[in-house]
């Protein structure tokens, strides 16, 4: 392990040294070029230019060498411990590929040939240089090449916030992710899950450093959200693995119990002969073990972790998808939710108003009935008053008549008739009427104790 780090440090020193030399030589060559431009087209190749290109070749070889060494060391140290899918993530050949691709993708102005691609000989820079000189283009214009920026984004996609251009790196992560899931599916034992989880934990730790680091660039927000999706998916698959481990352990336990039961049955000369009996026994024995585990606090916590990880991932994906849809005329979930919330609130208000209206209507109805009853009562009183007045008049007449008869004595039966008649006709009718109208509706009251009481008592 120490050797590995020493080698890495040594290579980095060498690389830095080479970069310094390269920069210096670029500068010298630039100066020569400037002189050449000042003094008309230069027909001769500057002496140090070949060295520059040779240095690119050396650099490429160094990249390749470093990548290969790193890969070999990784294989040596971790090859028998990490799953194959995970090792693929640490493909350091990417470094040399990147460098090669960078050089190869340079766009040279004026149709100049690129010496770094298409089978050109790296060691023979003269053709390139001649074509360059012929076109009289400044060398550094190549650095404005769009392809170069793309290449940089390809390599440093996360930091650049280049979602599309950095796709390859994401796809690498997804390849590993998928590999892990495949490994999960094919891992047969809980020990296997343990190993896999350890590996995944360390890998996730490293990957998260990059994924969750602050990002730059115009697409940084989206890129950051996307990185969070990947990071959360790690959590999800990890918790899935924990759940899978628990289920696998339980399956083994329940399998053992079933086997033991089968042996027991056989020893007692009662093995399940029929398929139905066999299946019933299998269900009974297995289910008992699983239900014991399912009822445990440990399982409830594992299930919580698993579902929570899945839900967090879902929420982050939703967020990302909404971000993507933001640019489209499609209504977003959050917009619809807001609208639905408003509608729900309005419905509540409507219901409240309707209830209040009903109550008011009831109150109005009661008031109307009360007014009607009052009117009726008033009418009754008027009639009663008339009756009383009539009676009073009758009494008065009777008194006068009596006084007259005292003067002239005669019969007294005439006064009793109108009094009796007035009482029976004037008072009986309204009372009966009120009773019949007000109590007619809740006629069921007597049958059920839950029946409504009359809305308004008849005035009596």
């Amino acid at each position: 392990m120490d050797d590995f780090f020493k080698q890495q440090a040594g290579w980095l020193d060498a690389w830095r040294e080479q970069q310094q030399k390269l920069t210096e030589q670029y500068a010298r060559w630039g100066e020569d070029l400037t002189k050449g431009v000042g003094g008309g087209p230069q027909q001769q190749v500057p002496t140090n230019f070949e060295d520059v290109l040779k240095m690119q070749q050396e650099l490429f070889e160094q990249f390749s060498g470093f990548g290969t060494d790193l890969q070999q060391n990784l294989q040596k140290l971790w090859g028998d411990k990490l799953p194959k899918e995970l090792l693929q993530q640490f493909n350091f050949n990417l470094l040399q590929e990147f460098y090669k691709s960078w050089l190869g993708s340079m766009e040279f102005p004026g149709g100049m040939q690129n010496p770094f691609m298409g089978g050109q000989n790296w060691a023979d820079p003269s053709n390139f240089l001649k074509s360059f000189m012929k076109q009289q283009n400044p060398f550094f214009s190549v650095f404005s090449s769009r392809n170069l920026v793309d290449e940089l984004q390809q390599m440093f996609g996360f930091m650049q916030g280049g979602r599309a251009a950095g796709g390859d790196l994401y796809s690498q992560l997804f390849t590993t992710y998928q590999g892990f899931i495949n490994q999960l599916a094919t891992t047969g034992t809980s020990q296997g899950f343990d190993q896999l989880l350890d590996t995944f934990n360390s890998w996730q730790e490293q990957a998260d450093k990059y994924l969750l680091a602050p990002q730059v660039g115009v697409n940084r927000e989206t890129s950051q959200e996307f990185s969070k999706v990947i990071s959360l998916s790690f959590d999800y698959i990890k918790s899935f693995a924990s759940m899978a481990k628990l289920i696998e352990e339980t399956s083994r336990k329940s399998g053992n119990r079933f086997q033991a039961k089968l042996v027991d049955c056989s020893l007692n000369n009662a093995p399940p002969i029929k398929v139905d009996d066999f299946c019933s026994l299998w269900t009974k024995e297995n289910e008992a073990v699983f239900l014991e585990v399912f009822g445990s606090e440990g399982y409830a916590k594992t299930q919580r972790q698993f579902t929570s990880a899945g839900l967090r991932l879902k929420m982050q994906i939703n967020k990302l998808v909404e971000k993507g849809l933001d640019q489209t005329p499609i209504a977003l979930k959050r917009d619809v939710d807001l609208a639905v919330k408003e509608i729900t609130e309005l419905k509540r208000e409507l219901r409240k108003s309707r209830k209040q209206n009903q109550e008011l209507m009831s109150a109005v109805q009661i008031a109307r009935e009360a007014v009607a009853a009052s009117d009726e009562r008033f009418t009754q009183l008027e009639k009663s008053l008339e009756t009383v007045q009539a009676l009073a008049e009758s009494a008065d007449k009777a008194a006068k008549l009596a006084a007259t008869r005292q003067v002239e004595p005669a019969g007294s039966s005439a006064t009793s008739v109108p009094v009796k008649k007035a009482t029976s006709t004037k008072r009986a009718t309204p009372v009966k009427k009120a009773t019949s109208t007000k109590r007619a509706t809740p006629a069921k009251e007597n049958k059920t104790s839950g029946a409504k009481k009359p809305a308004a008592k008849p005035t009596e």
């Binding site: 000369n269 002969i273 139905d276 299946c279 297995n286 399912f294 409830a300 929420m315 979930k333 729900t344």
Partner: protein, 354 residues
């Protein structure tokens, strides 16, 4: 004890029968056009969007003067109560002369994202009861709540005791302290907020998966092995398919309803603690002064008996009674053991209190 030859012969016979059943069963399956449930005639009498109130057509001349409103759970469909003519609690109650109304919660969708328990209980249930009271010129009616609908009914009865003549709860969880059911164990540990925030409307299939896990081998494997035995019998296969159809007919759950249900009830057990709040009011179970009949299933793995029958310890009424049957949660409505006894006993209990 059988010898090897006999055992072999028996195994071969069984295999032959199995193959025959399977062949005939596949033919029977192919012949089934549609699986129909809930066929008892009913009339739509009130609705609010996808939530509907039905009144069942009477099956007797003498009808109980106080109607009964059935409030089923939202997590499954009410069709369980009227699965088929010979397995129908509703039909049995109608045969007993009860006047039956039923709430159909419908299938929640995105429009129900912000619906709350208050909207359902103080809203729709209350509207339904008002409607029925108005139609019958009554001040109060009977309320029969099933499972989660029983919990809703209990809450309603505590908040509006003047509108409930008699309260009947069936396999309804009230006290969530127990861990006798796996659902209660898992429910306490679940990150409910995360679930609701992620889904908004929680898929019914998610709930179904949880139910499946309550008996993972029985419900996922054994049930279908046993199915082969009855496949050749068209009638039994029809019964099986109806049940299967009901089991997986699980509506999605309005998020906010589930949030309050899971957090306040499953996790914090607020109802029996007297801390449950709805529409700005604390639900006090002591306010339940009307007669209460609490029905539970002895072998219920979804709602443990203790969770259901604890209700009687908290209500304010003195007229309270419990009734249990030696069945499971679903068996309460479809088991042959309950078909002949459940409805008559409920009906008698109601009639004695009218």
């Amino acid at each position: 004890m059988m010898n090897y030859t006999q055992q072999f012969q028996e195994s071969m016979d069984e295999l032959k029968t199995f193959a025959e059943n399977l062949k005939k069963g596949v033919e029977n399956l192919a012949a089934i056009d549609e699986v129909t449930l809930a066929q008892s005639p009913k009339e739509l009498v009130f609705e609010d969007g996808k939530r509907k109130l039905y009144r069942y057509q009477a099956r007797t001349k003498d009808i109980c003067p106080v109607p009964t409103l059935i409030v089923y759970a939202m997590v499954n469909r009410y069709t369980m109560l009227d699965l088929q003519p010979n397995r129908s609690m509703i039909r049995n109650l109608l045969d007993q002369g009860q006047d039956i109304y039923l709430i159909d919660w419908g299938y929640a969708d995105r429009m129900d994202r912000h619906l709350t328990m208050d909207d359902l209980i103080n809203g729709f249930i209350d509207d339904c009861i008002d409607h029925i009271c108005q139609q019958h010129q009554l001040e109060a009616i009977n309320l029969l709540g099933v499972c989660q609908g029983g919990t809703f009914s209990t809450i309603y009865a505590a908040l509006h005791p003047q509108k409930v003549k008699n309260l009947i709860t069936m396999v309804a969880p009230v006290d969530f302290e127990t861990n006798d059911s796996l659902l209660f164990v898992w429910g306490k540990e679940m990150d409910v907020d995360l679930l609701i925030d992620a889904y908004g409307i929680v898929p019914g299939d998610l709930m179904n998966q949880a139910y499946q896990m309550l008996q993972p081998f029985t419900l996922s494997v054994q049930k279908y092995i046993n199915m082969v035995d009855i496949m050749a019998d068209e009638e039994k296969l029809g019964d099986f398919m109806r049940m299967e159809s009901w089991i997986f007919d699980s509506p999605d759950q309005p998020g906010e309803v589930l949030r309050q249900n899971a957090k306040d009830l499953f996790q914090e057990n607020k109802l029996v603690k007297g801390e449950f709040e709805l529409g700005g009011q604390i639900v006090d179970l002591k306010q339940i002064g009307m007669p209460v009949l609490c029905i539970y299933a002895d072998y219920d793995t979804l709602v443990p008996p203790v969770s259901a029958k604890k209700l009687l310890e908290y209500v304010g009424t003195k007229d309270k009674q419990e009734l249990s049957f030696p069945v499971g949660h679903v068996g309460m409505f479809v088991s042959g053991k309950t078909q002949a006894t459940l409805a008559p006993r409920v009906s008698d209990w109601i009639n004695q209190r009218i």
